[in-house]
Symmetry: C2
Subunit: 315 residues, 2 copies
């Protein structure tokens, strides 16, 4: 039986899923990334995931598709990754040498969004925009069935200035969308407010100093905590502005939202984003767009890897 | 001899140019659009331009490519135009019936930018962004050699919110790029300042109440008129912010600037836009891009029409 592997190489874990040609799942395997132990260990962890999938199934491996955080070159080289110690690392070379199959690598958000799009079954759509809103904000652009990457880094959709001379962003600029609507931005605002002595049920969630969980934020919002409402309403406003900007630029057929914040708050948040976007986009354009929530959750990366390599091998 | 016609259908005039297959100009003709006299008169004016080109040259007409202001559907129908009384007007049907040749129609800015790109000779570039900065601000996106239109209205690049809750824009939103850096925006600011009693050599240019000429603005800027300097510096800042946003989104190989403001101020303005964009884009991305000034001026629309129909007929 012909099969494909989709690999989601994350900062903490590597998920591999074995798929039949038609996208049905056959098996899955997961290992820790062990990013802190260096690149040689990470590549061994990747091999272990793939080997495990191949050992347990009698399949003809047609190809592997993978997503990794960071900047990817030539669909196979990790130029740089924020979470994994890859620097100009030829992952494609390694995989092709070991498994002798087709391989394609993309940025994690791009690959996951490609998977979400394929999963919608709306393959005939020729223009798709994806927005990932979680700890950070990323995006993906799919045109004529292919990920659009420009010279390699296209889709830096969190770093669109929406408030000139506004909040400082991690990228070095000011007023980026990410500096207003990412979970990191929300966390920063909540921390500052609590330090100022503001009462909030979010105070407890702040204790560990990490980035707040989307579900904690959602619970506080639903409990009508004024600080949670303020921070979420502000984020939705900026999500609407950014969405309007992307609709004006791309006038896409499909617009997919994913990421922890969106997945926690779901359809009510999406509806408010669309209402807000309508106020800022060119008349009528927002209503042409088929807005969708991600449906694959944690499997989007692996499924996207499958979808991507499947699209390459079949053409 | 095989030949193509490029048509630039503007609000005041229609320019037609007859080109050899290789893009060499054979002849040109110009007529008033007579937009105020209704659609039947406008179509007659278009026929007159084409007829004149065909009467005087013994050519085999392979196709006509045209650009028109407004929203274009199916590469042949003008859904709506701000300057010409076309409403759901099937221009392609009319042209094909009369001349029996291939025809393609696009939005004027899109078509002109396609022409500018083809004129660079950098046909191998697969990602091209064009920004038109004149009375208004528009844009064009060329991906894999084709104009990207999404559902038809993509490239509304003047209507990206860069200053949330900022200046009111003609589109109904607030804080759009066009509300800060178009000539209309500059004019508005200059008028307001002069009404407040501010001294400026631009005062004289305001008398007729129309939109200020880019050359007048340039002369005042070069004469170090403080108001002209303030308004141009502010516009350049926003042009830089918007350019950074587009570089972050598209990471394009080529970025072309056109329109009256850019054409008047030329390379010194472009250099300052790039410097400003570098401050706001993701590290390194701006330096990957080949920034160019338009070179075709008033001929961009007609040449773009030729380039567009040439690309369709040859494929």
């Amino acid at each position: 039986m012909k099969a494909y592997i989709g690999l989601d190489i994350g900062g903490t874990k590597i998920l591999g899923v074995l798929y039949k040609e038609d996208g049905t799942e056959l098996d899955r395997a997961k290992k820790k990334t062990k990013a802190s132990e260096g690149v040689d260990v990470v590549i061994e962890q990747i091999y272990k995931v793939v080997d495990k999938l191949l050992e347990e199934s009698k399949v003809e491996l047609m190809g592997i598709g993978a997503g990794s955080p960071g900047l990817i070159k030539d669909e196979g080289i990790v130029v740089f990754s924020p979470n994994i110690p890859f620097v100009d690392f030829d992952l494609k070379g390694k995989i092709v040498k070991r498994y002798g199959c087709a391989f394609v690598l993309g940025n994690d958000v791009n690959v996951a969004m490609f998977g979400e799009w394929k999963h919608t079954g709306l393959d005939q759509a020729r223009s798709v925009v994806g927005l990932f809103i979680g700890t950070g904000i990323g995006g993906a652009i799919i045109i004529n069935g292919e990920l659009y990457l420009g010279q390699g880094s296209a889709g830096e959709m969190g770093h669109m200035v929406v408030q000139d001379n506004g909040m400082i962003c991690g990228c070095g600029s000011k007023g980026c969308f990410e500096a207003y609507a990412s979970k990191t931005a929300m966390q920063k605002f909540i921390n500052a407010q609590i330090k100022k002595g503001r009462q909030s049920i979010l105070e407890e969630a702040m204790i560990d100093g990490g980035v707040i969980k989307s579900s904690v934020l959602e619970n506080a919002y639903n409990a009508k905590d004024p600080l949670a409402i303020e921070v979420i309403d502000e984020a939705i406003h900026y999500m609407g502005v950014a969405t309007a900007n992307y609709v004006n630029i791309f006038h896409p057929e499909i617009f997919i939202f994913s990421g922890g914040v969106i997945e926690s708050f779901g359809q009510p948040m999406l509806s408010r984003i669309i209402d807000e976007a309508r106020k800022h986009s060119m008349p009528g354009l927002v209503d042409d767009v088929d807005f969708r929530l991600s449906e694959l959750g944690d499997d989007a990366g692996a499924y996207g890897g499958y979808a991507l390599i499947r699209s390459k091998v079949s053409t």
